[in-house]
């Protein structure tokens, strides 16, 4: 009823190609935008910002980057964490070398470094496929984390080997470092994430995106119809690593405030991969849904027993937490292997034809 499409006629090709051919989709997006830009920031507490809103956005961005590579171009990568690390360390070095630089510019630049590293580690994809490639990306994962640990120039030779985000401000407002307020950080992240998302939507539905999808579905066939495999695969690695690198820079500068090499180790890669897969491969929307689930779930599971007044020790809660997340992942894979995005698509479909079943 809410989603009745009857009466919405397309009278031009442009209208048919619009991002939201159904008017209700645009309205829904509008509501979400109002929530994200106005309602949440007004209502959120510091804890909500730091434990839910900011991480959800950053993880969605990282998952979006991975999704371009895995979901659109079909190249499985287990090295996302390390590429986020490249972005973070690049941003840190840029800010040390040019202290006065605008942080937004530095974050934008740092993506190029991770894109370059991504392309370098993407080269084997021209010869290696499937799980072999996945393990090959693990080589990047382990090698880069080792490098973050050993190459002391990267962390300015600090004794602990960790990087600390200094106080940085833009237009007189503190955006990074301990004195920055959560709300400015949130808006900064939201702006970056929105921009990248718009760009990603347009890339993936354009010529390049179609090229990637052809490669994903069958690379030999794609090659036969004249798609340059090298260009397609490497461009996917570049775009994906760029976004992942930006997410990594945001991760450290706008959220964590400090980082040690271990932070970028394999659990982070898996976390991002979970988000992309639970959300839905080959979908932009899915990354957000997946991130909401994976980030918010442990936070909520932690709060529930306390809120109910059940005195369970925090370690038992943590054990149950890990079990629940593991169980839920399996359950989601069984119920809907194509992810939450497909789930939403089905609900939307049903709403459009409601009250008829087919």
């Amino acid at each position: 009823m809410l989603y009745r499409t009857a009466g919405q006629f397309k009278t031009s090709y442009a209208a048919d190609h619009a991002l939201f051919p159904v008017r209700q989709d645009a309205w829904l997006l509008g509501v979400i935008m109002v929530l994200a830009w106005v309602v949440f920031p007004l209502a959120a507490s510091d804890f909500t910002f730091q434990a839910l809103l900011i991480p959800v956005l950053i993880y969605s961005l990282a998952a979006l980057g991975l999704n371009i590579l895995t979901g659109y171009a079909g190249q499985l990568s287990l090295g996302t964490g390390a590429f986020m690390g490249v972005g973070a360390y690049a941003c840190y070095k840029i800010m040390t070398i040019f202290p006065g630089l605008n942080l937004a510019v530095a974050i934008g630049l740092s993506g190029f470094f991770s894109a370059a590293v991504g392309v370098a580690f993407g080269l084997p994809s021209l010869r290696i496929k499937g799980f072999y490639l996945a393990i090959a990306t693990l080589a990047a994962q382990f090698f880069l984390v080792w490098l973050f640990e050993k190459w002391s120039w990267l962390y300015n030779d600090s004794a602990s080997g960790a990087i600390q985000v200094p106080n940085l401000s833009m237009f007189g407002l503190g955006v990074a470092g301990p004195t920055a307020t959560s709300i400015t950080q949130y808006y900064f992240v939201l702006a970056v994430v929105s921009l990248v998302t718009i760009a990603a939507i347009n890339i993936t539905r354009g010529r390049i995106g179609r090229m990637w999808k052809a490669v994903r579905d069958m690379d030999i066939a794609a090659e036969l119809v004249g798609i340059n495999l090298m260009k397609a695969k490497l461009s996917a690695f570049a775009v994906s690593s760029y976004i992942v690198g930006v997410a990594g820079a945001l991760f450290v500068f706008l959220w964590r405030g400090a980082a040690e090499p271990n932070l970028f180790d394999i659990p982070l890669s898996f976390r991002v991969l979970f988000i992309a897969i639970i959300g839905g491969l080959g979908s932009v929307l899915g990354n957000y849904l997946g991130a909401i689930l994976i980030v918010a779930l442990p936070v909520i599971l932690n709060i529930v027993p306390e809120a109910l007044g059940i005195p369970v020790s925090s370690s038992v809660v943590e054990h149950l937490n890990v079990m629940t997340i593991g169980g839920l992942i399996i359950m989601f894979l069984i119920v809907e292997p194509h992810g939450l995005a497909r789930f939403w698509a089905m609900i939307r479909e049903k709403m459009i034809i409601w009250p008829f079943p087919h």
Partner: protein, 434 residues
């Protein structure tokens, strides 16, 4: 397991019953959060420490009804030694909690800059960032009673018989976890090596290689250092001791920092590791009055998770000592501000004016359990020194008099690193000290 389950169910039903009545019992409570880790790869070392901390707090509540009539509410937030979870816990507990106990060098580094803004003290006893001793720079951070650099310097002076110049031409290796914690002593050891003419080499053990250290010990065999120091944690300690036994490295040349002197880690090597020593700022005193009180009020009442045979562990009793530091800080703050329910800023004052001397320890029933020390505005560590403890095949025994670090050798580096940190994080608030 069965016991755990039944207590959980029992307490759950009880709590549901109590839920409606709960607000009626509102009373003065001090919230003491602890970012614990009873899960993950380091749980083995975390559990006895957390148990000790909790049992001391429970004992005070049971015996004295809290501190000067205010109940202590000890609340754990599980991090699994994961910095991401740690920051989440910090955000969650910073509202009510009167202190932050981050329990990992990684988490300490994350919350250190935030402590200035949130005005909540960090208590990191015997860990964290060594330059935190500089109270002028790090006004919200405390790492009593000894820092890692104190520990490294004391180890050197112990093995050299007090004269570091006698180490000239010798070779000292540091086997350490490749993590901020393990790297902590390296700058000091490097500086002292240059000054006193000994060779220093760092041998890192990756987090994934903690249980697979044969390459590191082959390197030690090849280099044949005169002494090996260890900055290990969790599963790494047991792995290293086992490998040392295997490569027949003489135990009298192998010494660990206080986090590597854990009874649980030594169990698998057992008698073969006899003679392994560690430096420690606490030693178990099983007949101390405080231990008897904990047994009476906590263990015998079924309120402790610690098996009876683990009550004599170095780490369990270290947990007790750490809770004591905090409670003494609360007491000092209560006396100074003349209020029962102290807030986070007042607890900071208490930590800064902590005076744990022999008489105080006697009074608390903890004589000889922990080194005496005193903090001040500019000295947030107290530099109480430490003892050497030796593994006799079944337990650790104290084998030395109390050692003191040669502060003159450490202070210049400490000041330089503190300044470096403050400069890198400018504008960094400093505090004036008289």
């Amino acid at each position: 397991m069965k016991k755990l389950l039944s207590t959980t169910i029992l307490s759950a039903t009880f709590a549901v019953g109590m839920l409606a009545a709960a607000p009626a019992f509102a009373e003065d409570v001090l919230h003491i959060p602890n970012l614990s880790y009873r899960t993950g790869p380091f749980a083995g070392t975390g559990i006895p420490l957390m148990n000790g901390q909790r049992d001391y707090m429970t004992m005070l509540n049971e015996r004295d009804g809290g501190v000067n009539g205010v109940k202590l509410s000890y609340e754990e937030c599980e991090t699994g030694y994961n910095t991401e979870k740690g920051v989440e816990c910090y955000e969650k507990t910073k509202g009510e909690g009167i202190v932050t106990q981050p329990w990992s060098t990684g988490i300490t580094l994350q919350v250190l800059p935030k402590s200035n803004v949130d005005k909540r003290a960090i208590l990191a006893p015997g860990y964290g960032f060594s330059p935190m001793a500089d109270g002028k720079t790090f006004q919200w951070a405390f790492n009593p009673p000894s820092s890692y650099w104190d520990g490294a310097q004391m180890l050197l002076s112990y093995v050299s018989g007090g004269n570091l110049d006698s180490l000239k031409g010798k070779k000292i290796a540091l086997i350490h976890l490749d993590h901020p914690y393990g790297k902590e002593p390296i700058p000091l050891l490097e500086a002292l090596a240059a000054k006193h003419g000994f060779t220093f080499m760092a041998i890192p053990v990756g987090l994934k290689e903690m249980q697979n250290q044969s390459a590191q010990w082959l390197q030690i065999r090849r280099e044949n250092p005169d002494f090996v120091f260890m900055w290990g944690w969790g599963a790494m300690n047991a792995g290293a001791v086992n490998e040392a036994v295997k490569t027949k490295f003489p135990m009298e040349k192998f010494l660990g920092i206080w986090w590597s002197g854990h009874d649980g880690d030594m169990a698998s090597a057992g008698a073969a590791a006899k003679g392994y020593r560690a430096i420690s700022w606490n030693v178990p005193v099983n007949d101390a009055p405080v231990m008897a009180d904990i047994k009476n009020y906590v263990a015998d009442a079924g309120k402790s998770d610690t098996p009876a045979d683990q009550a004599g562990w170095v780490f369990y009793q270290r947990g007790i000592a750490i809770s004591m530091f905090l409670v003494e800080a609360v007491k000092a703050a209560q006396a100074n501000f003349n209020t029962k329910t102290v807030d986070a800023e007042q607890v900071r004052w208490g930590l800064e004016n902590l005076k744990i001397d022999e008489a105080k320890l006697k009074e608390l029933g903890m004589g000889g359990m922990v080194v005496p020390f005193q903090t001040s505005c500019s000295n947030h560590t107290g530099h109480g020194g430490a003892w050497i403890i030796e593994w006799d095949g079944a337990k650790f025994n104290k084998v030395s008099d109390q050692l003191q670090a040669d502060r003159a050798a450490i202070e210049p580096l400490e000041a330089a690193k503190a300044k470096e940190y403050a400069d890198a994080n400018a504008p960094w608030p400093m505090q004036e000290c008289k």
